[in-house]
């Protein structure tokens, strides 16, 4: 017999304290959405453990009572992945300790609620940083980054979260604690760590993460190239990669995005009359870096850039980056609503896919704001619109479908870094066969046979043959 809600609240409060359990509808409202507020799913209650022991006790209680739950970090995700639809929301944002820093081996052990940029700040005096830098790094948590396998502009050179997580202590949904990976040498066996990173909270809850730290480069150069056509900027991207230069980051912003940023508090001095800008960063040793800058400038100018500006100092560099990183938020100025999209295409298809996207926008009478990781071919076509206008909403919906289909047809994927969550469930069958989706379900069942952790996310439920044939516990 399942516990009543009141009894559950009491049992949770006994673990974490009364103030760490939220149950009234008005105080749960804010937890009904993440960084993608188009979805609202009210949790039945929310619990906020403050220590590892409390997390363990909470997860074990939920296991005993066979209650489903959704782990949540800072709620900055962009796929509705942290929404708890009538189930328990497990907030991990109060576990904010950096547990240890090992400068010599360049490792840090952190609790899941540590904010991404706080780790970098903590290790800065040692000349180190944490390389994955999602645009939300000032707010998002490492636990959330692990769940989503977060990327960021600098993952072009340094790799995504997966490449920087060495070991995890995980509590499985049934309450068992396991260690995945190793921080003191190699382990053999299946790469369960690799399977866990990016599992979007469906495989369990990370209690701590051992992550790799990266040496700060001796020298950094940040360039801003502005173009009078989107096409030229896209071609220049390919030319840079083809030249064998591996920039630390290679980002593109189109005119609507530039204008939104320039109107915001993060105005970076981007030229508002440019059709597109490329923000290019290279880093490495002091010796020889300026030769690479000259090469990059030449490639951009040959590719039709009007001007290539090199940031003069750290302050200008920060400003150029702030504009890029806050661009998504800045679009709040353009219109009352916004769809945020995330897709990946082979880099060489950038010019023609961008043309197709522009044509789709034109056909539907919509403005598409492109701000994306050009070096990775990771597109973010965002469309500001007014959701109160049913006709416009319908056009946005059609445009999004068409854009996603275009990217898939180009050989791409439906998400490069935001995750599937709730938002992209329907797109999964565009890129995976029923057999492959079923295989994913089988993998999930290893970690969570009852499907209690983040239910209903990542893989459409009907794709899981065995589960869809049996009653699913919710």
């Amino acid at each position: 017999m399942a516990m009543t809600r009141d009894a559950l609240v009491q049992a949770l409060a006994a673990i974490v304290g009364v103030r760490q359990v939220l149950q009234r509808p008005s105080e749960l409202l804010v937890y009904a959405s993440d960084g993608l507020p188009g979805y609202r799913k009210q949790p039945s209650l929310a619990v906020f453990p403050r220590s590892r022991d409390e997390v363990v006790a909470v997860v074990r209680l939920l296991a005993r009572e066979r209650m489903a739950f959704v782990p949540r970090g800072a709620g900055t995700g962009l796929s509705g992945g942290a929404l708890a639809d009538g189930v328990v929301l497990l907030g991990l944002n109060r576990l904010t300790r950096v547990l240890s820093i090992d400068a010599e081996n360049r490792l840090a052990v952190v609790e899941p609620g540590v904010v991404n940029v706080h780790l970098t700040r903590a290790v800065a005096p040692l000349g180190l940083h944490y390389a994955p830098d999602p645009s939300s790094q000032a707010a998002c948590t490492i636990g959330g980054n692990v769940a989503e396998n977060a990327g960021g502009p600098h993952c072009l050179k340094y790799g995504v979260t997966l490449n920087h997580v060495v070991a995890l202590t995980v509590i499985l949904p049934d309450g068992e604690i396991v260690t995945l990976g190793s921080s003191d040498g190699e382990v053999d066996g299946y790469d369960l760590l690799g399977a866990f990173v990016g599992s979007e909270g469906c495989f369990g809850v990370a209690l701590d993460a051992t992550v790799r730290l990266t040496r700060n480069p001796q020298a950094v150069r940040t360039l801003l190239a502005d173009f009078t056509s989107l096409d030229a900027a896209a071609c220049a991207t390919s030319a840079i990669i083809a030249a064998g230069i591996v920039p630390a980051a290679l980002e593109m912003m189109d005119q609507p995005t530039i204008r939104a940023v320039e109107a915001s508090i993060y105005a970076a001095g981007y030229p508002v009359d440019a059709a597109a800008v490329l923000l290019i960063e290279i880093d490495g040793l002091q010796a020889g870096i300026d030769e690479d800058v000259v090469r990059l400038q030449a490639i951009c100018l040959e590719g039709g850039a009007r001007e290539v500006r090199v940031a003069r100092d750290e302050q200008e560099r920060t400003r150029l980056w702030q504009g890029r990183k806050k661009a998504f938020g800045a679009m709040g100025r353009v219109s009352s609503h916004l769809v945020v999209q995330d897709a990946v295409i082979p880099r060489t298809r950038l010019p023609d896919v961008l043309r197709s996207i522009a044509a789709i926008g034109e056909r539907e009478g919509l403005t598409v704001c492109n701000v994306f990781h050009a070096g990775d071919g990771n597109l973010h076509p965002n469309i500001p619109y007014n959701a109160n206008d049913p006709d416009e909403s319908a056009r946005v919906h059609r445009a999004m479908q068409a854009i996603m289909q275009t990217c898939v047809d180009a050989g791409g994927s439906v998400t490069g870094e935001h995750g599937i969550g709730l938002d992209k469930l329907d797109y999964m069958s565009l890129i995976f066969s029923p057999e492959s989706l079923d295989a994913m379900c089988r993998l999930r069942a290893v970690f969570d046979p009852d499907q209690r952790a983040n239910p209903g996310k990542v893989v459409p439920i009907h794709a899981c043959r065995e589960w869809s044939q049996t009653a699913v516990l919710r």
Binding site: G288, P346, E417, A445
Partner: protein, 439 residues
């Protein structure tokens, strides 16, 4: 994160090289499974020579993914276990495969399926050799920076299935970092695709990481997409004489790890290897470091390395030589800990294996992984020192005498690993015994 000793493992070597173009897709003959049911004895096919060469073992040659699936399904209904390989060669790496009465040979699955240089990705069938991939990508100034110890005739499938890599892995990516997508056939005979063909992808649960390093026990890799890198403009390889004193060695390694250098490989070699590769004249160990960058950068790095210790410049070919210098049939283990402890580990390993004739040791500095290989005839001597190594360090067995494996904890014995195995190969049809000691 496993390496495997020379020339392949489960997927083994390919057969005769197939012509490969820059963007090529060798047409595959449709070659269905032998018409005889699995329960009956199939038409015997030639099995290449090697330790697994059991003349009586029936072999099925699969020429395409569908045939692999058919074979596994039939094996399932007949309840016969399969030894998976790509063409032969070294099948003695890892725990002994038990009860595999049949061989599934996927060596004919070869050829590059797609390669667009501007995308820096390449898709190839599992039996394609690393050498073929190297030939295809070199003209475009690119490479797949996987340099496992062994012959470049290793197949892509074997390299990924065993997660093998060499000195480049520390900086340019381990197989798990470079694999973007896989197609595999699981133990049910289902064709599954994980990942994709783009460099960044978080769609769905990660079946790629799961398959890479699974030694073919969760599915038979039939095709894979990998990330390529641009070949460096300028390279320089320097050998630095390594001090015999443990503390002095630690200081040197630290200076190399923390100095103004961006090497793509830093490998510590024992005196025998150093001498064999011309890194040192006498009987000292050496650190061989491969510096990359533009001309100015390489020159500055070279000056820095030379300021640290006595240095000789080596040709870049020394890295290929290192891959080959290790004797075939050797028994080998990898011993590791945190990078900062490498000097201690190195000293301990050297002390314990000093008296084994023909023993070779080398270590990847950035990863803190040392590797020790002894000639086949002295495998027992390595077995004897294993318990002491296991008590202090992380030890991963590569090729060992059958009795030695009992010293090492089976990799797949935990609950999750058993669950994964059951989810993808419930009947233990694929390479039984390799990842567990239960069969």
């Amino acid at each position: 994160m496993k390496e495997v000793s020379p020339s392949g493992a489960i997927h083994g070597l390919g057969g005769a090289p197939a012509p490969v173009g820059a963007v090529s897709s060798a047409p595959l003959a449709s070659a269905p499974l032998s018409s005889a049911p699995l329960s009956a004895s199939p038409a015997p096919t030639a099995v290449p020579a090697g330790p697994f060469d059991k003349a009586a073992t029936p072999v099925w040659l699969a020429h395409n993914t569908g045939a692999v699936a058919d074979a596994i399904r039939e094996a399932g209904s007949a309840r016969v276990a399969l030894r998976v390989r790509a063409g032969g060669g070294w099948l003695d790496a890892g725990r002994p495969v038990t009860n595999a009465t049949h061989v599934l040979d996927v060596g004919a699955l070869r050829g590059i399926v797609e390669y667009t240089p501007g995308d820096l990705t390449l898709t190839a069938r599992a039996g394609t050799t690393l050498a073929e991939i190297d030939d295809a990508t070199r003209p475009h100034g690119q490479w797949l920076p996987l340099d496992p110890h062994g012959a470049p005739a290793d197949t892509l499938g074997a390299t990924l299935a065993t997660a093998s890599c060499g000195p480049l892995g520390a900086s340019l990516g381990l197989p798990r970092d470079l694999a973007l997508g896989v197609e595999f056939v699981d133990g049910r005979g289902t064709v599954v695709r994980g990942g994709g063909r783009v460099v960044k992808n978080v769609a769905g649960f990660d079946l790629v990481r799961l398959t890479v390093g699974a030694w073919g026990t969760l599915g038979v890799i039939t095709e894979a997409t990998v990330r390529l890198r641009a070949r460096p403009d300028h390279c320089a390889t320097l050998a630095v004489e390594a001090p015999g004193d443990q503390h002095a060695l630690a200081r040197l390694l630290r200076a190399l790890r923390e100095g103004p250098l961006t090497p793509i490989a830093t490998e510590l070699l024992d005196a025998t290897l150093s001498a064999a590769l011309g890194a040192t004249a006498g009987d000292a160990d050496a650190v061989v470091i491969r510096l990359v960058g533009n001309a100015t950068s390489v020159a500055a790095q070279r000056r820095h390395v030379m300021s640290l210790a006595r240095t000789v410049e080596l040709p870049d070919t020394v890295w290929d030589a290192l891959r080959r210098v290790l004797p075939a049939g050797a028994a080998s283990v990898r011993v590791s800990h945190r990078p900062e402890r490498l000097a201690v580990l190195w000293h301990d390993l050297a002390t314990r294996t000093r008296d084994i004739p023909g023993c070779l040791r080398h270590a990847t500095v950035e990863r803190g992984v040392a590797r020790c290989a002894v000639p086949a005839g002295h495998a027992e001597a390595l077995t004897e020192v294993l318990p002491a190594l296991v008590s202090s360090w992380r030890v991963v067995g590569e090729v060992l005498a059958p009795s030695a494996w009992s010293v090492l904890q089976p990799a797949g014995s935990d609950r999750l690993s058993r669950g994964v195995r059951a989810a993808f190969d419930e009947l233990h049809l694929l390479n039984p015994g390799l990842m567990d000691a239960t069969t």
